[in-house]
Amino acid sequence: MEPLQLDIMEISGAILLIATFGVIARRGFMDWLNAYRLQSIVLAGVTAVIGYVTGIWEIYVAAVLTLLIKSIAIPKVLTYVTRQLEMESKTETNPYLSLRASIIVSALLVALAYFFSQQLPFKSDPVVDIYLPVSMAQFFLGLLALVNRRTALSQVVGLLVIENGLFLFTLALTHGVSLIIEVGIFADILVGIVISSILLFRMSRTFDSLDVGNLENLRDD
């Protein structure tokens, strides 16, 4: 595999990471959506790169799908949802960790991701070798977002980031599993988004805010 491809992969991976950081580092909900959209576009690019490297045409299809669903459909749905929600502030007011802290933590998490994937025997396969840590990092960053944020919407975004990581991961390792499963996974994700947006509606109607602080009645202390 010639160095050019390697460089492209390296760079695309790096860009993807940065895009993910973007999701962490923003505050307003719209900013996240944009960050997410951006990240999805990058992801589509990465997908294309993988397709180009491995030379499997289905992956281009996957890339197109990603572009359509992730960077257009889902953001549309979510913006629609947020429009519907009659709420004054859609910005994350007080996350558990301050921005700075969360940036540092996420840096640590990325390091962890690389640390974990180091032991695995992927040297033979540069695609995996490069993208695996990136995707793992995305899981962790997504999780961080989920743990850190207080509004339901931002948690949805965190979920989406994880899901992106999942997609990249699957792609990198499998170069496209059998089609049923791909479809199944996509379908699941879409339904999940739909359901969560229904829940968001319900929430805003019942608690007239999306603060998960309202969701603390069920507890044992």
Partner: protein, 681 residues
Amino acid sequence: MIDDLVLFQVVISSFLGGSILSLVSRNCGFARYVIYLPSMVGSVLAVFFSLHVMTGSPLSWTVPDVVPFFNLEILVDGVSAFFILVIGTVSFAISLYSIGYSKEYQDTKRISAFGFLFNIFIASMILVVSSNNGFFFLMFWELMSLTSFFLVIYNHEKEENIRSGMTYLVMTHLGTAFILASFLLGYIQTGSLSFDSLRASSQSFPFLVKSLMFVFAFLGFGTKAGIVPFHTWLPKAHPSAPSNVSALMSAVMIKMGIYGLVRTVFDLAGPGASPDYAWWGVLLIVAGSASALIGILYAVVERDIKRTLAYSSIENIGIILIGLGLSIVFASYHLVSLSAMALVASMLHTVNHSFFKGLLFMGAGSVVYSTHTRDMEKLGGLVKMMPWTTLLFLVGAVSISGLPPFNGFVSEWLVLQALISSSQIPSAILQISIAFASLPLALTIGLAAAAFVRLFAMTFLSKARGKLAPGIGEVPRTMIAGMAVLASACILFGLVPSLGISLSTTAFHLQYQPSSPFDAVALQNASGKNFAALSMPVVATIMACISLASFGFIRAMGGKTARTPSGTWDCGFGNLNERMEYTAASLSQPIRAVFKPLFKAHNESDKEFHLQTNPYLVRSMRFSSSTRNIFEESLYNPVVSSTLLVLDKIRKIQTGKVNSYLLYIMVTIILLLLFVRMSHA
């Protein structure tokens, strides 16, 4: 020649039939008979069966593949038969008694459920002693606990009953956990839970494993038997239960603990005949002495009739354990005949205790039946209203106080002889420590008499100290009959002790066999001379002759004299009334004062004076005195509360914040990944 197996199945099925019948008898008029007649039949058959097995050959029966890995194995050898005999006799009497006793319950609530549980309870006890496989043993064991628990909380309208029931259930379950551990230790040695395989190979177990098995068994079975300090459930559960149930529990069920101990010690984890195992016996002796003394001390100051009896059960279990422990110690020093004697002593006391304790609990039940109170301070003077109950209760009281010529005396006599024989143990330290261990036992025997004088006198004699409901009368005939059965058993085993002795010797295949039932129980000392001898029949005859002779003599000397009734001497003050009598509390006050630290007795009195200035003219004076249970206060409560504290900390992790939940997941995955990374690198 009848088949043992068939007989066994008939016994069990008659109890099951009784339970089903009582379910279908929707509390109809003759429901009581439907419930208790089957159990009576079953009990009689059980007695017959056990005697048949004892004289004949053991019954063993295996049903394979009922559940995976375990077969239902039944083995009724002499020991099981011995205990089945006890169960049968007592439960016969109690069933007879219950026909009358359940009447008041039938008027107020359904007794069909009660009958169901009652029958299952007895059946489960028979199955416990006859099961030969660890799994099924535990199964029937827990079945026994479960049914007895439901019987204890049968009057569940009272909060307190439920609470004491829960205490009982939890403690007995804890005990079961220990028994389980003991069995499983054997299981990992042999790979099977069948007692046969344990028997076969237990001699080759490592010493440590055996000792652990023993200790766990001691803890487990000890809890059921009510050994101090695992006894706290007993004085709670017995009073809460209906009296026929408490009779059954105290007379028979706690003996299941003894059975388990005997089984484990002499059969499953058989100790080798080497001084290494002496400490098993010492442990039992120490625990026994503690139980005996502490049990009776609490009995002396208790004011609830049934709780007094419960505490005295703890005491008697202690005596039984002392005998058992001595037998182990002797065995470990190859003193075979002494060990046999000690074992006989403790087994005889087991039988005797189940007789008189059943009798006493039934008597207490009759008192409650007609007076509806268990409080001695309110009772009194029943001797005139319930003569039969009084007489039978007196028999029980005298027997349990270990007075000749009743059965309690014989077994305690044997235990004491065994203690004295400890001088033959070739180990100075053991000799002297066991000799000193006889101190608490002697004290216990003395206090027991005191406790039962108090119980009997306060309940039946002189005048009622409180307001009793009018129209108190004698209890129904069936109840009297039930008590009479056990009373006569007490007298019989007292007059002809060799009955009980030969019973236990045949059950345990021991050497000693009296040639005629009227032989003296004779013990030889080391130099072959007569160490001690006791021939109750002759003693009884002597007493009879003397009473005749002396009656005649006195009559001859004094001639006929009149007996004129008159008021009790009141020092001339007049109107002596019941409020001037000694109460139960004041009666035991000296003893309570002597053993102050144990009771943490707490007295409070407040006086009102006619003139505040003058402390001599007292208008009124209230005095109340309460004893506290140091075990509850300084052993159980701290443990429980600290546990709860920990639990409270743990459950706090359910914070209700989805963020924290996700954090847990994140941390878990990262930790596990690190774990892999480290273990791999």
